[in-house]
């Protein structure tokens, strides 16, 4: 994860409060209907099933451009489309991990399906002990501040996240398909 800079002043006022007050889209860690259409993705799904994640009631929460409570913020988030020039497609989504939520180690399916993707993560909450993001086999992201922007070194990075603190962990993800 390559640090780009801090953009806290560009985070729309009220965005984080809105995410904390609304549930968002409940997203289970096991999504067989989504993990299809590519050999690598289906192989990953098999491993997830073998490990037993299909039997766990574990989730995380997402907010997208289509989420009703996000509508007042859409205009003020247009700046995230300017991270990269000359892309075919771009989308952002916000991920909230409440206490105990998780995503096991994985590569995002949309990244596997596309030949070239550039990814960014904008932290919306300060790091605290118990906020976990592991990547690149043995790296652990810590000591960041709300507004810190990171560019992924490799969009196909195997990564996972969880929250074992009692305070929600929120970040905004952006993918550019070239």
């Amino acid at each position: 994860m390559n640090y780009i800079g801090n953009f806290q002043e560009k985070i729309p006022a009220g965005l984080v409060d809105c995410i904390l007050k609304n549930q968002g889209i409940k997203t289970p860690v096991y999504q067989p209907e989504k993990w299809v259409g590519h050999e690598k993705i289906e192989s990953a799904l098999q491993k997830v099933e073998q490990a037993g994640y299909d039997k766990l009631d574990r989730n995380f929460y997402q907010f997208t451009e289509d989420t009703p409570c996000m509508q007042p913020f859409i205009g003020d988030l247009q700046w995230v489309y300017e991270f990269v020039d000359n892309y075919k497609q771009c989308h952002w989504w916000i991920v909230k991990y409440n206490s105990g939520d998780m995503q096991p180690m994985h590569i995002d399916p949309h990244v596997i399906k596309e030949p070239k993707v550039i990814r960014f993560t904008l932290m919306l909450t300060d790091y605290i002990d118990g906020h976990v993001f592991v990547y690149n086999n043995n790296k652990f992201l810590k000591d960041y501040k709300a507004g810190d922007l990171f560019r992924w070194g490799d969009s196909n990075n195997y990564h996972g996240a969880t929250n074992v603190s009692h305070i929600p962990r929120i970040s905004l993800q952006v993918s550019f398909i070239l």
Binding site: A51, G100, Y127, D129, F140, K142, Y158, G160, V164
Partner: protein, 193 residues
């Protein structure tokens, strides 16, 4: 976490096979009868997690405790040679975290009650991406090898262990303390029984 050394030769494959093929004692992290009553920090910590929605049955570890856990009672498990126990009392336990198991941020209550406690952690397997051991102020243990032993910076260090990988995570835990500083837990929590 301070690295002590490696004693991989101490680990018997039979022990690991037994732990991987059995359930052990399913112990919740939230153990109110053991964790409240004498320490304000513990009370506040658990109030926060209960308020945040943690439930006892959802957040457990599979434990294999010295002299207690039936699944390992017949095994001749000795003490790792690098852990100094001469003239001291001790107790040990293995922890298995299946994929998806997480513990919330905590410290081990017995290490507060043992005023002379020294806590040790030992890897039983090589590091696997998604096998996470973290401790306060951003500590993260990576790239360890089976047999690596660490001592906690101090006994009641805040920490958490979790498994986001596709294979179980097994570690060995030990607390060493002076004689006369024994602690008897009011209750042994086992959701199996």
């Amino acid at each position: 976490m301070k690295y002590i050394g490696n004693c991989k030769e101490w680990i018997k494959q039979e022990w690991l096979d037994r732990i991987l093929s059995t359930t052990g004692d399913i112990c919740p992290i939230h153990q109110p009868e053991n964790q409240i009553g004498d320490h304000k920090k513990q009370i506040e910590l658990y109030k926060n997690f209960v308020t945040a929605g943690w439930q006892e049955k959802d957040f457990v570890v599979n434990m294999y405790t010295q002299g207690i856990s039936k699944d390992i009672l017949d095994l001749d498990i000795t003490i790792p040679p690098l852990i100094p126990v001469e003239g001291k009392n001790y107790h040990w336990w293995f922890v298995k975290m299946n994929p998806g198991q997480v513990t919330h941020w905590h410290f081990d209550p017995h290490t507060v009650k043992h005023t002379t406690a020294v806590r040790y952690w030992m890897a039983i397997q090589d590091y696997e991406p998604g096998h996470v051991f973290i401790w306060e102020n951003g500590g993260f243990l990576d790239d360890y090898k089976a047999g690596d032993i660490y001592s906690f910076d101090f006994a009641d260090l805040y920490h958490s262990v979790l498994n986001l990988s596709m294979i179980p995570k097994v570690s060995f835990q030990m607390t060493v303390h002076e004689f006369g500083d024994e602690v008897i837990k009011p209750k042994f929590y086992n959701l199996n029984s």
